[in-house]
Every structure is written in C-alpha cells, then in structure tokens.
Symmetry: C2
Subunit: 139 residues, 2 copies
C-alpha cells in the first residue's frame, strides 16, 4: 500500500491504453480493480460510485466500461439478454450463471476443457470461446 500515491495502480492501467487519467476514470478503475476479481453491470457500478461520493454520469459509466473493455482491462460476459456484465478477470476462464438470482461467478480456466473443436464457417476464425454453465437452485 502506498498512501501517498493512491491512484498509481489505476494510472498505470490507463496510460498504456491511451486513456487520459480523468477523475472519473481513475475513480471507476479503483472501484473495479482494487477489490479482486468481480462482475459488474453499469447500473451497479454507477450505484457504487454514487455511494462512494463520486459524481459520474451514467453515460460516462457506459463509456468507461466500453473503453476499458476495448483496452483489454475488462471482458464483457453475455449471459442475460438485456443486461451486460463486465468481468475484471481477463484471463482465460468460464462462468457459472444462476438466472434466478443473477449471480455470475468465475470457473477457473483449467476446470473446463474443450475438446474436438469444429471447423469454423468459411472466412471466419474463432475470436473467443465462451462456456456458460447455467445453474438452478436444487431446492
């Protein structure tokens, strides 16, 4: 912990992405990256910012999430039509998703192994492989 330069870790993320270290981006980066791996929606992050006393508009939250995703700092997870999740864990891994509760959780990359990859349609290459284990409560 370096209390004299509390934003330096976030600064170091923004710089190589060519993103100006604005007050809003730095604050959102701290919320996102200083508490371990997490999954957030824009609405959640906006709420957290508000609770932390950071004044930031919804538009900026969306802009920032997309810019961070472009820059490889975040990864978008598609599990729900009509709500985008962003994952701070950008390493190779997959997800558990419980529709009933909206809970989204990482599965370590080495716990899921895909075999026998099919040929892709002509003119395309694989960009990414998403595996989602959809869960239900077993009551």
């Amino acid at each position: 912990m370096n209390h004299t330069r509390p934003y330096s870790a976030s600064l170091d993320r923004l710089r190589p992405a060519g993103l100006r270290p604005t007050r809003q981006r730095l604050a959102l980066a701290r919320l996102l990256f200083e508490t371990g791996d997490r999954h957030v929606t824009a609405e959640q992050l906006h709420g957290e910012a508000r609770d932390a006393g950071i004044r930031v508009s919804v538009a900026t939250v969306y802009n920032t999430l997309h810019q961070f995703t472009e820059a490889g700092l975040l990864r978008e997870v598609v599990v729900d039509p009509g709500r985008a999740y962003f994952d701070t864990n950008t390493s190779e891994h997959h997800h558990f998703y419980t529709e009933e509760t909206g809970a989204l959780e990482d599965i370590p990359g080495d716990r899921v192994v895909l075999a026998l990859m099919p040929n892709t349609p002509l003119g395309t290459v694989i960009d990414r492989v998403d595996v989602i284990l959809r869960l239900k409560t077993d009551s």
Copy 2:
C-alpha cells in the same frame, strides 16, 4: 405431406404443451417448424408473419416464443445483450456466433466435447451448458 390437414403437425406440438391451438400459435408454429432448424428473433418472426399475411401482435409473438420455450419446443440462445434469439433445434448442440454480422449457426453436439466439469456452487445444480464460439471475419 398431408394437404388435407396442413396444421396437424403444429397441432400435435401444441396439444401436449397444454397450449390452445389458436390461429396465431398455429401460424407461428408453422413458420418456425416447417422449414428445418432455424434461429429467429421476435422481430424477425413478426416480420415473417406480416409478410405471410398473418395478423399477429408483437405481444403475441413474444408470448408465443416464451410459451414454446417453456414447453421445450424452442430454446433461447443468449449471444447478444439486448436481443434474444430462439432456436428451433432443441437437441444438445452449441453455437457459432459472428457478432459483426449477427449470424448464428448450430454446431452439432458431437463436435464439441466438454471435459472436467467443475463442482457447482452449494445449493445449485447444472441446468444447461452453453458453448458459444464467437467468430470474426478473417479479412
């Protein structure tokens, strides 16, 4: 082909699902199931119905897609946040998705094999496994 009872195949799908064979449901069932496996959005299906001269409201298209999904006649495919796809192929299989074009295509179930399933979180069981191979054009 039995031209004297053109709706009988669709009828036979609705009956066991406990869905009354209304004009709208029968017509949508024909559009969905009489041309082999396909992927549709509500908007697409509504457009097709319109083009085929079937008067059906958007609300009914949504209701019907959801009821058919509940009944196991369709399967919802989540590949895009903000747009729901429905697949008439309900057998075990996975998907190719090309974000740039919106193209969604089946991968036969036996071309993707998942190994080493992880333990699910306490109190949950696996409901379904979705594998999405996200493609990009290789230009």
